[in-house]
């Protein structure tokens, strides 16, 4: 007697995950608004859903976030030379 039947269950662990998105360009705009802190509550809600169900959105979100963090954190911030600060102060004081 056969012990088990090869039940062909889906090997997909997340069967509801979307692999393709038809409104990727719009989603990208929304993702940028969210990362910039300019999104509405509604857009935030929508992203939350998309981040669980849409593979392209997940990828875009991580990419945009990574680039933003890179710009914020890893680029050298030039400080104003002390000499220039002193020059400006001296010029301003000479006006009085």
């Amino acid at each position: 007697m056969q012990t088990s039947l090869p039940i062909s269950s889906s090997s997909d662990t997340q069967p509801k995950m979307k692999q393709h998105c038809d409104h990727q360009a719009d989603c990208l705009k929304m993702i940028q608004l969210i990362l910039d802190g300019e999104a509405t509550e509604q857009q935030l809600e929508k992203l939350k859903v998309n981040l669980e169900t849409c593979q392209p959105c997940i990828q875009m979100y991580h990419l945009e976030k990574e680039i933003k963090e890179l710009l914020q954190g890893r680029m050298e911030k030039k400080c104003c030379p002390e000499k220039l600060v002193a020059t400006i102060k001296a010029r301003i004081d000479s006006f009085s």
Partner: protein, 201 residues
């Protein structure tokens, strides 16, 4: 009076008040201003001149600044206008016309729809600051500017609209296009370095 401040009523500050505003509200932003000037001009001497000119102008027109309002945005706006009027002309930057071309191209529906740059977050996380700076510097100045203001300086869209004298909708779309261009540059850079060769899709 420069056009930048002409929409603001003037205030009668005493000499003491002027110095107080200048030192307490303007000077604390000098590092951000210098960084902005350097990212715009990509040259230390030009950044020095631009920051100095901006601060002297700010002092001269201090009566059009309302104490306690957003000094950083006000200063950035003066710096941006000085850059356009005095520095851009003599620099090697592509002229406004070139930028218009780019914006027109990216404005078309077609460009928007097919515009998803094939670049991976993991690839980006391998890049270092200098590589990003190079990519950023290669963008036309108007695109570079919105990225600096938003991502590096953390201005809101509303503040950016005021600094740049453009509607918020234009801020949003210009930023979107700027980021697509930046991603293209980063992708080209990454593939030239052999970072991003596998495309598993």
């Amino acid at each position: 009076m420069p056009e930048i401040m002409s929409d603001t009523p003037t205030r009668g500050y005493t000499e003491d008040q002027k110095y107080q505003i200048f030192n307490k509200e303007f000077m604390p932003h000098i590092d951000s201003m210098y960084n902005f000037a350097f990212r715009l001009t990509m040259d230390e001497d030009d950044a020095n001149d631009l920051v100095q000119d901006t601060y002297l102008k700010a002092f001269r027109f201090i009566s059009s600044f309302e104490q306690g309002t957003n000094a950083k945005a006000w200063l950035f706006r003066i710096l941006k206008n000085s850059f356009i009027n005095d520095y851009r002309k003599k620099s090697k930057e592509p002229a406004k016309v070139d930028y218009q071309d780019v914006e027109t191209t990216y404005n078309s529906e077609e460009a928007e729809v097919e515009h998803t740059v094939d670049l991976r977050a993991e690839t980006v996380s391998d890049l270092i600051g200098d590589e990003v700076a190079t990519a950023l510097n290669s963008l036309p100045v108007d695109f570079r500017t919105v990225i600096i203001l938003c991502d590096i300086e953390g201005f809101t869209y509303e503040e950016m609209a005021k600094i740049l004298d453009i509607p918020i909708g234009t801020v949003r779309s210009r930023l979107h296009r700027a980021r697509n261009l930046l991603k293209e540059k980063l992708r080209d850079y990454a593939s030239s370095m052999g970072y991003n060769e596998e495309n598993e899709d």
